[in-house]
């Protein structure tokens, strides 16, 4: 059993898969009576190998009867050494009464302002002792207040001078002048001589330390400082970015250049988009004009027809208007790269199966209309091949204008390596938006490209000749 288990690698465990819980050892044994024993033994070995710390814990907790704990044990769990402080009860007063509700934090000391955050250090105490040997007129609490206030005032002076740096990049200078300090701290009513002495002691200390002596005001080390003895450097993480990629980005010259390039690209894209919007607006206007024109033409033609034949097809008006609305459906498709509007209206590839029924009568009506229209053809429409489907909103190309503009239709058929490619033809037209379009025709089916499988085949006609 043990061997067979080693001989293959178990499938990785899927954490979402529900695992059976086997409660009794008998369930383990069902296929091999020794399996459980092996498993238990193996568990023991594994425990000792992969988790020595757990074994240590086992020994530690079960070791009550064990008089000689292992050496390893001593290393793992050292005895913490501590003593009671005999002055504790004097130093800390019994003045705390726990409120019944949970305590809410107040603002930090810095915000409250009146708390004297500075504590004298050895140097201050030694200086004060020397100072008082001569005059005996300054107590430590007062000195603490003075040094604290000097630090705060100097910090404010540096703030006003815009000299606060976010990190420690060089010695922090003293900007506070004696007379300014004296004036600001008048309310402490310290004699001038004493104040002057304290000020010069403070200034001297500040210049030696090259940084504020109040810890809160000391700038943190720079982000790129790698000295492990300097601590609490700011982290860029403060403004947490959302993706790992963004987190990897640093604020350096390179990333600045990259961002500038991105900006340039975006500006260009915006200019392009503005031009595009303008073009589309113009196109829409042009198309609206064309629609109006066609409507007028159709109306005019129908009226003429009704007059001409004296017959009115029942339901004709309705179908006609439906046809008109389905043209509107196609109005947008001209912009797609696979342009095939030239054929579409008559073919009516069903976009939805349930349109099928309504399409056929439409086509029939359409053909009837085509036939009936012939006598009244006017303008550019009359040039059409009668078999050719009506292509609304497009116009034929004017070869002279093309020539004048230097536009050549694609050559047909192209010749490559002396061999003639299967012939294909192009037909030019002016699309709805006023663009010049050359439609390629499939040489086999003689239909426009993209229409090969269409319902068009039954309507096959003679191949159209290129207009140029």
């Amino acid at each position: 059993m043990a061997m067979s288990r080693l001989s293959f690698r178990p499938r990785p465990l899927d954490i979402h898969k529900k695992l059976p819980i086997l409660k009794s050892a008998r369930e383990f044994e069902d296929d091999d009576p020794t399996a459980a024993a092996v498993a238990v033994a193996r568990a023991g070995v594994l425990l000792r190998q992969s988790a020595p710390e757990l074994t240590a814990a086992t020994t530690a907790t079960e070791g009550e009867g064990n008089p000689t704990p292992t050496k390893k044990n001593i290393q793992e769990i050292p005895t913490p050494q501590f003593d009671a402080v005999d002055t504790y009860e004097r130093d800390y007063t019994r003045t705390f009464a726990q409120p019944t509700c949970y305590i809410r934090g107040r603002g930090a000391r810095a915000e409250i302002g009146e708390f004297v955050e500075y504590d004298l250090d050895n140097e201050d105490e030694d200086w004060l002792e020397d100072f008082n040997n001569e005059r005996k007129n300054l107590n430590p609490e007062k000195l603490e207040v003075l040094l604290f206030k000097l630090e705060i005032l100097d910090h404010k002076a540096r703030e006003r001078a815009g000299a606060i740096t976010p990190t420690f990049i060089g010695p922090v200078p003293v900007l506070l002048q004696l007379d300014a300090a004296m004036e600001a701290l008048q309310y402490l009513s310290v004699r001038y001589g004493v104040f002057q002495a304290v000020y010069s002691y403070w200034k001297d200390k500040r210049e030696r330390w090259q940084k504020p002596i109040l810890r809160r005001l000391q700038p943190p080390p720079p982000v790129n400082d790698t000295n492990p003895y300097n601590v609490f450097r700011p982290r860029e993480k403060a403004h947490r970015l959302h993706t790992r990629r963004m987190q990897r980005r640093e604020n350096n010259i390179q990333s600045f250049e990259k961002l500038r390039m991105v900006r340039r690209n975006l500006d260009q894209a915006k200019a392009l988009m503005d031009a595009l919007v303008k073009r589309e607006e113009t196109k829409r206007e042009a198309m609206e004009c064309e629609v109006n024109l066609r409507r007028i033409q159709m109306k005019y033609k129908h009226e003429a027809q009704l007059v001409d034949e004296g017959t009115a097809l029942s339901g004709f008006q309705q179908v006609s208007s439906r046809f008109g609305s389905s043209e509107d459906d196609y109005a947008d498709s001209d912009d797609t790269t696979t342009e095939q509007p030239y054929i579409r209206p008559p073919v009516f590839r069903p976009r939805f199966a349930d349109h099928k029924l309504s399409i056929i009568p439409t086509l029939r009506i359409k053909r009837e209309r085509e036939l009936k229209r012939r006598p009244q053809q006017n303008g550019w429409v009359f040039k059409r091949d009668p078999e050719e489907p009506v292509l609304l909103f497009t116009r034929p190309l004017d070869p002279e204008k093309l020539l004048a503009a230097g536009i050549k239709p694609p050559p047909d058929p192209p010749i490559e390596n002396g061999a003639t490619m299967p012939p294909f033809r192009c037909r030019g037209r002016i699309g709805r938006g006023g663009r010049i379009i050359f439609d390629r025709w499939n040489p086999l089916l003689q239909t426009p490209i993209g229409q090969e499988t269409s319902y068009y085949v039954p309507y096959s006609r003679r191949p159209p000749s290129p207009e140029s």
């Binding site: 238990v40 907790t61 070791g63 726990q98 492990p228």
Partner: protein, 450 residues
Amino acid sequence: MGSMEASTAPENGTAAAAAAAASTVCNGAGGGGGAAAASNGGGVERRLRSSAASASWASHLPLEVGTRVMCRWRDQKLHPVKVIERRKSSTSSSPADYEYYVHYTEFNRRLDEWVKLEQLDLETVETDVDEKVEDKATSLKMTRHQKRKIDETHVEQGHEELDAASLREHEEFTKVKNIAKIELGRYEIDTWYFSPFPPEYNDSPKLFFCEFCLNFMKRKEQLQRHMKKCDLKHPPGDEIYRSGTLSMFEVDGKKNKVYGQNLCYLAKLFLDHKTLYYDVDLFLFYVLCECDDRGCHMVGYFSKEKHSEESYNLACILTLPPYQRKGYGKFLIAFSYELSKKEGKVGTPERPLSDLGLLSYRGYWTRVLLEILKKHKSNISIKELSDMTAIKADDILSTLQSLDLIQYRKGQHVICADPKVLDRHLKAAGRGGLEVDVSKLIWTPYKEQG
């Protein structure tokens, strides 16, 4: 904020130090050097030997870094040590006036300390060449591979989660403890590790901490003066849990920067693989206190990133030495998972885990998971266990696998939950410590202001 290190030892871990207290030769309680030690020593033979030794060693004082010697430890027994560093103990220029920073080769690095010359038994000085000199001499003959192999075998036990190189670098930076003792409230505590206090504090073997705002000072009078004006009686944040005399405070490192930094300086004295490299702004500190009529006394804390991408729910954890072995560490771990449950997230402690940290966490995971498996009847997925406990799936897998409870049978994984086996593992994992009463936790997950 680097790694974490829980200091919750099983209740009856070691009694070795206490048990051994009475049994030694009392040697060199006063006296300045080798000769004094010898004169108290006893037998004629020994005196002869030692005086000879001291005569020869007097000329070698001060001892070189790297010297191996026996040293009297706090159990009053002699233990082998290696000199790591030395310094002048006074302004006099006598070669005997040095103190030595020694590593007890039998013990964990956290017990390294400064000792006076009279604690060293100079008879036992080994004429061992300084390791660094030796390294230089042999490095030419050794291939890089051989050298690395040697380096790797020298790595201390108990930090299996760190690679050898970073561990050695770390030890080099922090090899000498700067602060030997601190006074914090009721207790004077021996420290375990180096902590990067501002340079102004480096000349002080003992620091006095204000128990509430954790400001630290070099002299007792400074602390006493501070206590008269200190306006805090509890950590400066919001109380989010109270059960009996036990309270938990949440302190925002951004709002209370100096407090957060003070706490980090203090904690580093007891945590080996903690880094103070980055600022405390991005962390919340959960400070556990025992409260009485003097105030709320910190017993331990854990820190937590405000937003962790790696789904860390704990960065550093510490129970202060006087409060260790009382179940507070287990309480802190359990509390960190209760916060994760309230956030509706799974969590995991930041890596690497220290020796004691891994031990505590394995214990917690084992207890929580095995209690569920004992009661659970139907099939269960690792993901479901994770959702129930807020323990990350990886930690569940590693725990169950290390106990060999997940086995592959007949083409599928199964969980082997024989009650007897579970009980055995549960017993090994130790007791659960103080319970977290979730109904007393009044807390909303951190949200960025503005």
